[in-house]
C-alpha cells in the first residue's frame, strides 16, 4: 500500500491509484470535465489540477499515480484561480443558444461555472457571443448535436471507442477550429452510429443530448429499474415528470452495464405512453349475451369495453366451465418472458394449482428450450455458467456461434468488442458475416444447420493434437469413450464437405480455440432454433468439457437468453415439466410438496377426486397452439405473448388460434394475437409495476413502480390473482395449504412464497433485493453470496456427461423448386414481434420496414437492386419485404426478421418442424424462392 496525504487527511491506496481516485476514496470531489472513471484519462481540460508538496507546478490528478509520502493539496487560492481561468477560457467559445435553461437539469459545466463564479469574471469583450456551428443539424432521431456547447473534453470520442467499440466520433481541425466529427464528417448514422447514446450520457455540457428529452423539463424523480428488452439486464434511471417518463439516464453503479446502454434501452421507452395502450378490459360482444354466449361466432364478433368486474366475471365463468367439462388437460397457459418472476410464478401456479394441469409454457420454448434441455442433460443446469463481465475480462479466447451479439445483446456485444480490443481473440462461427465478425480474428461461415459437424470437427482436431484436458475429462466427466468414437468420424475433410469451411480454417480455428485457456463459448438462437437444437447444445457442452473450460473464470457454456426475463420465466417453472427452480413435476416427492403447499379444499358439492397435482409433463407452446385445431385444447390464457407473430409457419398458427374455443389475452397493446382473443385484459409495462427480472447470467434485479398504468390497466400479478380467486370461487374450492391462497398485497409477497418453495431462490429475499444486493442464483439461504460461476469443482448433476451426437441435416433444404435457404433473426432497432419497438418512434424511424438480406450474387441473378420490394415464398406462405443487398449473407442464403406484421413477417415462411426433445421449431432453416421483384 501507498500512503498519501490529501488536504491533511491520510489514506492508504493500492499502487497505481491516481490522486483523483484517492481523493474520491476520501469522499473529496475534485472538479473535472474530461475525466470519467470508465474512460482512459487524457488530462486535457486541466480542471483537476492539484498541488504536490515539493513539486514546482500543479499537476492533473486524473492521471497522476500516487507515490508514497505524497502530500497533495486539492484546493488553494492559486488552484481556484487556475480552475476559474480554465472555465473562463472555455466560455470564450461556449455558446448556448437557449435564453432560458430552467427547463432542464443543470449540466456539469454549468455547475462548475457557477461554483467557480467564472461567468462573471470572464472578459466579455472576447467572449464568442455567437453561434459557430449549425444547431441540431444531424438526423439521428435520438441524439441532438449542438457543437456550440462543445468544450472538447472528448469524452464522447473515448466513450464511443472504448465503451461501445464503435469509433464514430473523432476530432477534426485544430486550434480553436477543433471540433468533434462523426466518421469522415458524415452524419452519425452514416458513420456507423448504433445510437447507444453513450456519447450523450458522458457529455458534460449538453452539446450531445438526448433528443427525446430535449425541453422535456426537469424530472420530478429518478426511478432505478431494469430494462425490459433483452436478457443482458441493464439497469438505469427512469426520469419521471408529471407521471410520464421523459428520459432514461445511465446509472454508473448498475451492476451489469454501468453507464452503457443500447438504443432500445435508452431510447425505446416511449411505447409505455403510446396511444394504443390497452386501458380498459374488453370482451367480445357474444360473451355478454346471456342467451348464446356458449356458441361464439366464427369471427368472434365485435369488442365491447367493460369494467374489471364484468371482464373477470365473464372470463372466470368460461374458464370454470371448460375446466368442469373437459378438465385442465383441455386448457393451456402461456406465460411471458417479458413479465416478472412473480408473475410467471403465479401463471404456473394458476395452471398447476387451479387448472390442475402442467399445460404451461412460454416463449423460451421458441428460443432456448434446446439449451435448457441440452445443458440439463450434460451438466444438470440449463443456464449460462459464467458472467458477462467475467467473460469479457478473463477469457483468453471466445467462440461466438449463432449469436449476433452486438445487435441482440448490444451491451454485452460492446463488452465483447472491448475484449477484442484488449487482445482477446474472437472466433465467430455464423452463416452471416455479422457485426462482431469485424472484431474477430476468424469468421467461419458454416452452412446453416451444420453446427454439430463443425463442433465435432473441432473436437476431432483437439483430440488428434492432444489439446483436450485429459485430467478434467477423467475426474469430472463420463461418457468420453462414446464421444470419442463418434468424433473420430469427423475428419477435417468430411467436416469441410458438410460445413463449407475449409480444412485450413478449421485447423486454425481449432488450434486457436483449443489451446487458449480459458476459452468461453457464447451462443444464442443460431444454435438452438434447429430440429437438431439439443444436439447442437450438447456438442458445445462436449467441447467445453473436453477442453476443461468449465467451472473456471473466463470460460463456460454461455447461452445468451433473449428476453429480459426468459431466464426468470424458466426459473419460475413456466415450463410444462418443472415447478419453480427446475423441480420436476414427475418427481413424487416434489409434487407432494407443492400439492401440500397449494392444497385446496373443495366444497361439499364439488368433486374432489383430483386433489393431487398433475404429474404428467404438459404440452409445449407449439403443441398448445396446435391443440386448438386438433381439438384437444379448448382454452388458452396468454400473458404478454404474441404467438400469431412469433410462431413458425404463422398462417398455420393463426388457423390454430382461430380454431381455439376461448382465448384470454393479457396484454399492453392490441397485438396480432388479439384478433383471435375473446377477452383482452390490460396489463402493465415494466415501468408500472414491481417485481424482479432474472437476466441471462442468473442475476435477479428489481423493477419499480415509476409511473401509473394508463386508464384501468393493472399490474399483471394482480390481474392473475384476481382471476385466480374468481375461478377458485366458481369451482367451489377454498385455499387450505400454506401457500394456497391468492392474497397478495404486493409483488414482494409473491417473492416470499417463491423463496419458500424454490431452493435456488431461497436466499433472494425482498429484503436483500431492497438492500441493493445483486444476486446470481443459486442462492440457497439468506446468507449465501450468490453464484457467479456454475459447476465449480463439480457439475450440478455430479459428473459432466458427454453425449455422442451425430450430424443430421435440417428438415427442409433448398431444392430446384425452392432454391434459397432462408434463415431468420432480428435487427438492432427492433425487438422480437415488434409490439413495443414498432411503437417507439425513434426506433421505427431508423428501421421502418421489414428487410431481407440477399447476397450480391443472388441479387444480380434475379435483377434485384438494393431497396427493391421483393416477395419471397415458401411452401407455407409469402413475405413482402425490402431487399438489402449485402455480403453479410452468402450466395444461396437469405435472411429475414420477424418484427413486422402481416405480409412483412418472415414467419409466414418458416417451418414448424420441431426438435424431438425440446420441441423447438427450426426457425433457422427452410427453403424459399423469389416470387419476382418490383
Amino acid at each position: 500500500m501507498i500512503r498519501v496525504e490529501l488536504d491533511g487527511q491520510q489514506i492508504d491506496v493500492s499502487p497505481g491509484t491516481t490522486v483523483y481516485e484517492a481523493a474520491e476514496q476520501l469522499g473529496m470531489r475534485i472538479p473535472t470535465l474530461c475525466h470519467h472513471a470508465d474512460l482512459s484519462p487524457v488530462g486535457s481540460c486541466r480542471m483537476c489540477l492539484v498541488e504536490i508538496e515539493g513539486w514546482d507546478r500543479p499537476q492533473t490528478s486524473c492521471n497522476l499515480p500516487c507515490t508514497d509520502g505524497m502530500k497533495i493539496t486539492t484546493s488553494s487560492n492559486s488552484l481556484q484561480n487556475a480552475r476559474q481561468s480554465m472555465l473562463r477560457l472555455l466560455l470564450e467559445h461556449y455558446h448556448d443558444a437557449a435564453s432560458d435553461n430552467s427547463h432542464r437539469p443543470q449540466t456539469e459545466f454549468e455547475r462548475l461555472v457557477e461554483e467557480y463564479d467564472a461567468q462573471n469574471k470572464a472578459d466579455p469583450s472576447c467572449m464568442q457571443d455567437q453561434q459557430r456551428y449549425p444547431i441540431d443539424a444531424d438526423d439521428n432521431p435520438f441524439i441532438r448535436i449542438d457543437l456550440n456547447q462543445c468544450i472538447l473534453c472528448t469524452k464522447c470520442v473515448r466513450a464511443c471507442s472504448e465503451i461501445q467499440g464503435r469509433f464514430v466520433w473523432s476530432v477534426a481541425e485544430r486550434g480553436d477550429q477543433t471540433r468533434i466529427v462523426c466518421g469522415t464528417d458524415q452524419t452519425m448514422l452514416q458513420a456507423g452510429c448504433e445510437s447507444c447514446g453513450a456519447c450523450a450520457a458522458y457529455c458534460p455540457t449538453g452539446a450531445l443530448a438526448d433528443r427525446m428529452a430535449f425541453r422535456a423539463g426537469k424530472p420530478d424523480r429518478l426511478v432505478r429499474t431494469t430494462c425490459s428488452y433483452c436478457g443482458v439486464g441493464c439497469q438505469f434511471d427512469l426520469n419521471v415528470k408529471d407521471e410520464r417518463i421523459i428520459q432514461v439516464t445511465s446509472a454508473a453503479d448498475a451492476p451489469v452495464n454501468g453507464m452503457a446502454m443500447c438504443v432500445k434501452g435508452r431510447y425505446g421507452y416511449d411505447f409505455v405512453h403510446h396511444s394504443e395502450r390497452l386501458t380498459r378490459p374488453q370482451v367480445r360482444q357474444y360473451l355478454l349475451q346471456e342467451t348464446d354466449w356458449r356458441q361464439r361466432p366464427a369471427d368472434r364478433g365485435p369488442w365491447v369495453e367493460v369494467d374489471w368486474e364484468v371482464a373477470l366475471d365473464v372470463t372466470s365463468r368460461k374458464l370454470a366451465e371448460i375446466w368442469q367439462e373437459s378438465g385442465g388437460q383441455a386448457m393451456g397457459v402461456l406465460s411471458s418472458a417479458k413479465c416478472t418472476n412473480e408473475e410467471n410464478y403465479l401463471m404456473q401456479k394458476f395452471a398447476r394449482q387451479i387448472l390442475r394441469t402442467n399445460n404451461v409454457d412460454h416463449c423460451a420454448r421458441l428460443c432456448h428450450s434446446s439449451t435448457v434441455a441440452g445443458l440439463a442433460m450434460a451438466m444438470g443446469s440449463g443456464a449460462m455458467s459464467n458472467s458477462m463481465q467475467d467473460i469479457a475480462e478473463n477469457a483468453a479466447a471466445i467462440l461466438i456461434t449463432g449469436s449476433n451479439t452486438t445487435e441482440q445483446h448490444p451491451v454485452f456485444g460492446a463488452m465483447l468488442r472491448q475484449a477484442a480490443l484488449r487482445g482477446c481473440p474472437i472466433v465467430v462461427a455464423d452463416p452471416r458475416r455479422i457485426d462482431i465478425a469485424e472484431f474477430a480474428v476468424m469468421h467461419l461461415r458454416q452452412k446453416p444447420g451444420t453446427d454439430v459437424a463443425l463442433i465435432n470437427g473441432l473436437m476431432h482436431l483437439a483430440l488428434e493434437n492432444g489439446w483436450h484436458d485429459a485430467d478434467f475429462i477423467r475426474q469430472r466427466c463420463e461418457g468420453f469413450d462414446e464421444l470419442q468414437a463418434v468424433v473420430q468420424n469427423y475428419s477435417p475433410n468430411r467436416v469441410a464437405e458438410i460445413t463449407g469451411i475449409s480444412e485450413a480454417d478449421l485447423l486454425a480455428a481449432a488450434e486457436l480455440l483449443c489451446t487458449a485457456k480459458p476459452m468461453a463459448v457464447i451462443w444464442a438462437m443460431g444454435i438452438t432454433q434447429h430440429t437438431t437444437g439439443v444436439s447442437n447444445v450438447l456438442s458445445l457442452a462436449n467441447l467445453q468439457m473436453l477442453l476443461g473450460n468449465m467451472g473456471v473464470p473466463g470460460g463456460g457454456v454461455n447461452p445468451l437468453r433473449g428476453q429480459n426475463n426468459v431466464q426468470g420465466a424458466c426459473d419460475m417453472g413456466a415450463l410444462p415439466n418443472v415447478f419453480p427452480g427446475y423441480q420436476r413435476v414427475d418427481d413424487t416427492g416434489i409434487s407432494d410438496k407443492f400439492a401440500s403447499a397449494w392444497d385446496l379444499q373443495a366444497a361439499e358439492h364439488v368433486d374432489d377426486s383430483n386433489r393431487a397435482l398433475d404429474q404428467q409433463p404438459g404440452l409445449t407452446v407449439t403443441e398448445l397452439v396446435n391443440g386448438g385445431q386438433e381439438g384437444r385444447i379448448r382454452s388458452l390464457y396468454i400473458l404478454g405473448e404474441d404467438p400469431a407473430m412469433t410462431e413458425p409457419d404463422s398462417n398455420h398458427a393463426k388457423a390454430c388460434l382461430a380454431a381455439t374455443e376461448f382465448i384470454v389475452l393479457q396484454e399492453i397493446f392490441p397485438s396480432e394475437t388479439s384478433e383471435f382473443a375473446d377477452v383482452l385484459l390490460p396489463g402493465a409495462t415494466f415501468a408500472e409495476k414491481e417485481g424482479n427480472f432474472t437476466n441471462t447470467e442468473r442475476r435477479v434485479q428489481p423493477i419499480q413502480l415509476a409511473v401509473p398504468a394508463p386508464g384501468e390497466a393493472l399490474p399483471d400479478w394482480l390481474i392473475t390473482s384476481r382471476l385466480a380467486n374468481q375461478v377458485l370461487e366458481r369451482t367451489g374450492r377454498t385455499p387450505l395449504g400454506e401457500f394456497a391462497a391468492w392474497r397478495y398485497a404486493k409483488a414482494a409477497d409473491v417473492l416470499r412464497e417463491i423463496n419458500s418453495l424454490t431452493p435456488s431462490y431461497q436466499g433472494i429475499t425482498p429484503e436483500r433485493i431492497a438492500a441493493g444486493e445483486s444476486l446470481q442464483w443459486p442462492v440457497t439461504d439468506a446468507n449465501h453470496p450468490g453464484t457467479p460461476i456454475l459447476h465449480v469443482g463439480k457439475f450440478t448433476r455430479g459428473l459432466g456427461k458427454f453425449h455422442a451426437v451425430d450430424y443430421l441435416p435440417a428438415v427442409e433444404l433448398p431444392n430446384d423448386e425452392f432454391p434459397l435457404l432462408l434463415t431468420t433473426g432480428r435487427v438492432l432497432y427492433h425487438w422480437h414481434g415488434g409490439e413495443m419497438t414498432r411503437r417507439a418512434a425513434g426506433l421505427t424511424a431508423v428501421c421502418p420496414e421489414p428487410l431481407v438480406e440477399i447476397s450480391p450474387d443472388d441479387a444480380a441473378k434475379h435483377a434485384i437492386a438494393n431497396g427493391d420490394w421483393i416477395t419471397l415464398e415458401s411452401r407455407r406462405g409469402t413475405l413482402h419485404a425490402r431487399a438489402c443487398v449485402t455480403n453479410r449473407v452468402a450466395a444461396g442464403v437469405v435472411f429475414g426478421n420477424f418484427h413486422f406484421p402481416q405480409k412483412g413477417n418472415v414467419n409466414n415462411l418458416t417451418i414448424g418442424a420441431l426438435d424431438p426433445v425440446a420441441k423447438i421449431p427450426e426457425y433457422k432453416v427452410c427453403a424459399v424462392r423469389f416470387a419476382g421483384s418490383s
Binding site: S44, C45, P58, L90, D123, S125, C126, R174
Partner: protein, 449 residues
C-alpha cells in the same frame, strides 16, 4: 571564432556530398563499422561523458535519455528521429538531411545500436520533399552496402529504417505527438508519465532524438567525448543543474540581416557575434530592435540584450524560454513589435492542436485581442489581459500537456514586458477615443486562420 573547423557542415559544399561514395571518401561509416563490435553500454558511456544535449529545443542530455530505457526489455524498442523541423526560422536539420544525409544516417544507426533498436523511424516534415528523396536514396545505398538490414556486417545486429512523412502540423514535432502520428493517429500529445522511454511507439520503449543530435553522436564516436567537450561553454560550477553547453551547434540566422544562413560555431557565441560576425550585421544599415534567440517560441531579446550567449543557459537569463533550436530571427528598428506579436499569435493559434483547454482557447483569445488592437480598437487594458494569458497557459504554469503553449506564451510575455511602451503608443495612436475604455467591447469577428 576563426580557428573553429566546421564539423557538421564540413562537407556540405563538396560536390555530390549526399552520396555514400563522397561520404565514405571523408571517413564516413568508419564509426558505424567500429561500433558494431562494441559493447552497447560503452557507446552509451561515450555519449554520456560527452555531455551531448539534445539539439531539438529542450536540451535534455542525450546519453541520460537513453539510459531511461528499461534494461531487460524483450523488445521491440523503437527509435524515432525527429525530423519534423517546424519551428519558424529553423532550417538546420534540412541542410543536414539534404546535403549530408549519410552523416545523419550514421548517427541514427549508431544511436539505434546503442539503444538496442531494430526499427528506426525518421519522422520527416511534409514540407521537405527534397530531404525525403535524399534520405531515401541514402537509405537505399546503405541497404545495398550492407549497412542496414539483417545481420549487419555479420554482427548479428539488424536494423531497418523507415521514413514517415508528417502532414504539416507543428505539433508533430512534440515527441509524444510525433509518436501518436507514427501510430497513425491524430497527433495529440500524450500525458506523461509514462515517458516514451517506457511507453512510446505502439506502447513500446522509444527514444526520440533530433536530427542534429544524432549527427553529433556520429562525430563523438569518430573523435571522442573529450574532443566534443573541448568546444562550448562548461557547466556553471555554482549551478548543479547546469549540464553545460558543449560541442558545435548549427545556428540558423534569418530576418533582417545582410547574410542570412545556417552557420556552425561552438555553443556559446553571443547574439551580437552571430549577427555581426556571421550575418554581416543588420540589413540596410538599420539597427537591431529585437532578436528571437531560438525560434519564435523562445521569446525576444531586446536591443540591449544582444550580448546574451546563445547556449543552453544564456537566453533564460534574459527572460527568454531557452535556446530552443538556436534559430535567430533579427527584427530591425523599422518593424512593429505589434506586428511581430500578431504574427506569432496567428501562428500558435493555428498550430495549437486543440487538446488542452488553455492552449486551444488561450492562443485564440490572444489572437482575437491582437486582431482587435491591429484593427484600431485596442485598449490599454488588453495588455494586462494578454500578459495574464501568457502567464496562464503552458507546462510551466502546469496547465497543458505539452510545451506548445509555453512557446505561444513567451513571445507574448517578452513582447509586452520588453516593449510595453510601443504597444501603448500603438493603441493610443490607433484608438485615440477608446484606448481607456474598460467596458466590454463587441466581439471582432475573426478566425484563427
Amino acid at each position: 571564432m576563426a580557428e573553429f573547423e566546421p564539423v557538421l557542415l564540413a562537407n556540405i559544399n563538396r560536390p555530390n556530398s549526399f552520396t555514400r561514395k563522397e561520404y565514405e571518401a571523408t571517413g564516413g561509416y568508419q564509426s558505424w563499422k567500429k561500433v558494431l563490435s562494441m559493447d552497447r553500454n560503452d557507446v552509451i558511456d561515450i555519449v554520456k561523458s560527452s555531455n551531448l544535449r539534445g539539439r531539438g529545443g529542450a536540451g535534455f542530455p542525450t546519453g541520460l535519455k537513453w539510459t531511461f530505457l528499461p534494461k531487460d526489455h524483450p523488445g521491440p524498442i523503437y527509435f524515432c528521429l525527429n525530423a519534423d523541423e517546424s519551428e519558424p526560422g529553423t532550417f538546420n536539420n534540412r541542410i543536414l538531411m539534404e546535403q549530408d544525409p549519410h552523416q545523419v544516417l550514421e548517427g541514427l544507426m549508431i544511436s539505434s545500436y546503442a539503444t538496442r533498436t531494430s526499427t528506426a523511424y525518421i519522422y520527416l516534415r511534409y514540407e521537405y520533399p527534397g530531404c525525403n528523396k535524399r534520405l531515401q536514396d541514402a537509405i537505399d545505398e546503405c541497404y545495398a552496402a550492407g549497412y542496414l538490414g539483417d545481420n549487419i556486417q555479420g554482427s548479428g545486429y539488424s536494423l531497418n529504417i523507415y521514413i514517415h512523412q508528417g502532414a504539416a502540423a507543428y505539433i508533430c514535432g512534440e515527441e509524444t505527438g510525433l509518436i501518436e502520428s507514427i501510430e497513425g493517429k491524430r497527433a495529440w500529445p500524450r500525458i506523461k508519465p509514462p515517458f516514451p522511454a517506457i511507453e512510446g511507439v505502439f506502447r513500446k520503449p522509444t527514444v526520440v532524438n533530433n536530427v542534429e543530435t544524432v549527427a553529433c553522436v556520429k562525430h563523438i564516436l569518430d573523435r571522442g567525448a573529450d574532443w566534443f567537450k573541448s568546444m562550448g561553454v562548461p557547466a556553471d560550477p555554482n549551478n548543479p543543474r547546469d549540464a553545460g553547453s558543449y560541442g558545435p551547434k548549427l545556428y540558423c540566422l534569418s530576418g533582417h540581416v545582410e547574410k542570412p544562413g545556417c552557420y556552425e560555431a561552438p555553443l556559446g557565441l553571443t547574439a551580437r557575434q552571430l549577427i555581426e560576425d556571421f550575418g554581416g550585421g543588420c540589413w540596410k544599415g538599420r539597427s537591431v530592435k529585437a532578436v528571437i534567440p531560438g525560434g519564435i517560441s523562445m521569446g525576444l531579446l531586446g536591443p540591449d540584450e544582444l550580448d546574451c550567449p546563445l547556449d543552453f543557459a544564456g537566453p533564460g537569463k534574459y527572460g527568454c524560454l531557452g535556446l530552443g533550436t538556436a534559430a535567430a530571427v533579427v527584427i530591425d528598428d523599422q518593424t512593429s513589435i505589434v506586428d511581430f506579436l500578431h504574427n506569432s499569435a496567428r501562428f500558435f493559434a493555428h498550430e495549437s492542436c486543440g487538446q488542452c483547454t488553455p492552449c486551444r482557447e488561450g492562443t485564440s483569445w490572444a489572437l482575437k485581442m491582437l486582431n482587435r488592437i491591429k484593427a484600431g480598437r485596442g485598449r490599454l487594458k488588453d495588455l494586462d489581459l494578454l500578459a495574464e494569458i501568457g502567464d496562464t497557459i503552458g507546462i510551466i504554469p502546469g496547465t497543458t500537456i505539452c510545451g506548445l503553449s509555453d512557446g505561444a506564451a513567451w513571445p507574448i510575455k517578452n513582447a509586452i514586458k520588453k516593449f510595453r511602451g510601443e504597444f501603448e503608443h500603438y493603441i493610443k495612436r490607433t484608438n485615440p477615443d477608446g484606448y481607456m475604455v474598460t467596458d466590454p467591447v463587441p466581439v471582432f469577428e475573426t478566425t484563427a486562420h
